[in-house]
Subunit: 211 residues, 2 copies
């Protein structure tokens, strides 16, 4: 017979699974074109959870869709951390994260449509890509690899350039996306104080394939 | 008695005035918080024009609101051209346009709310600020003031940094906006190939007050 603690854990797992099912359903809806006007009833059906359990987890649909975006950003962030785990140079980390993010326009266009429409709200937030970039920027400044830029301002330039690149890709589908991302990464590195030659070299270092 | 030509001109003027009244009403609505769900009937009443004349000018509400954003961007662009008319250095033109745009968060917060929500669509369009920035970027590359960057990529970095700065200002109202804009302008100039010292000097040149 389970102890209360075990029961609690089972309930916790069940709760977490319900929440995750709702978040997954919201991600699918966003990915399919972002019709966030869909009813909570339909979201719950899609998640295969009871209608009532929605409100055990979220106060509103907007809160659920926000959680879905956070979920995407965290997933990206963890994937980038994994793939860049051997890299020591903060300049390469920043440039690599930027170029990997930009590649998602090709590999995950539906997810990029989410980010395109909603990432703005998360540009300076504490989840997803922003805190990871900030960590690399702060390290780069501390180690003298970058000029003594304000990390929040440096993040603003980085995140803004990335979102603008995503827009450029969607509005100019004929563009070579990797080349554009590399040129922008190079510009960002120069803006942080790397020389023309250093920026050109770092921005062209080989990238891991994302699995 | 007016000739047909004069009648035509009067009609043209009347048509233009009606269109302008609708655009002005749309700008007011956007500035007040962007409730674009308002009915066409209410927009027409606000513009003091007949309901039917709406469709002589616009196919949909979305088209009207788009025209309103273009109108704002063109107004900004003309104002910047006026105020920077004596400036010859492309680096100063780019930095000045950037810093003047950023100041609008304080001087025209309602207008900046429009841009915040809709400018993304105009980041690479042929109206407003983008073609003017592109013109200055192309001149800077041609004159060797900038590295041989792709002007469209350079515009992407510039527009992205500006929109991200607007977001930063709205999410961090305690920030010194002018200082943040200057630091970002400096970063943008370095990304275009100016040296650390040149970028610091150009980004701090005095700006004209916008009237």
């Amino acid at each position: 017979m389970p102890t209360p603690a075990t029961t609690g854990n089972r309930n916790d797992r069940r709760r977490a699974a319900t929440r995750q099912a709702l978040v997954r359903a919201a991600r699918q809806i966003l990915a399919e074109g972002g019709d966030t006007a869909v009813s909570i009833q339909l979201i719950a059906e899609r998640a295969d959870v009871g209608f009532g359990s929605f409100y055990n987890h979220f106060e509103s649909k907007a809160q659920l869709f926000d959680a879905a975006v956070v979920d995407v950003l965290e997933e990206f962030g963890r994937a980038f951390d994994d793939h860049l785990s051997g890299v020591e140079d903060p300049a390469e980390l920043v440039s690599g994260g930027f170029r990997l993010s930009a590649r998602m326009v090709d590999s995950d266009p539906e997810v990029m449509q989410i980010l395109r429409h909603r990432a703005r709200d998360h540009m300076h937030s504490g989840v997803g890509l922003a805190p990871r970039a900030l960590r690399d920027l702060e390290r780069g400044v501390a180690e003298g690899r970058f000029l003594a830029v304000d990390p929040l301002i440096a993040l603003t330039a980085l995140a803004g350039s990335l979102l603008a690149l995503v827009e450029l890709r969607f509005s100019h589908p004929e563009l070579d996306g990797d080349a554009a991302a590399t040129e922008l990464a190079e510009m960002v590195l120069r803006s942080y104080g790397l020389s023309v030659d250093e920026a050109a070299e770092v921005a062209r270092r080989p990238l891991p394939e994302l699995g």
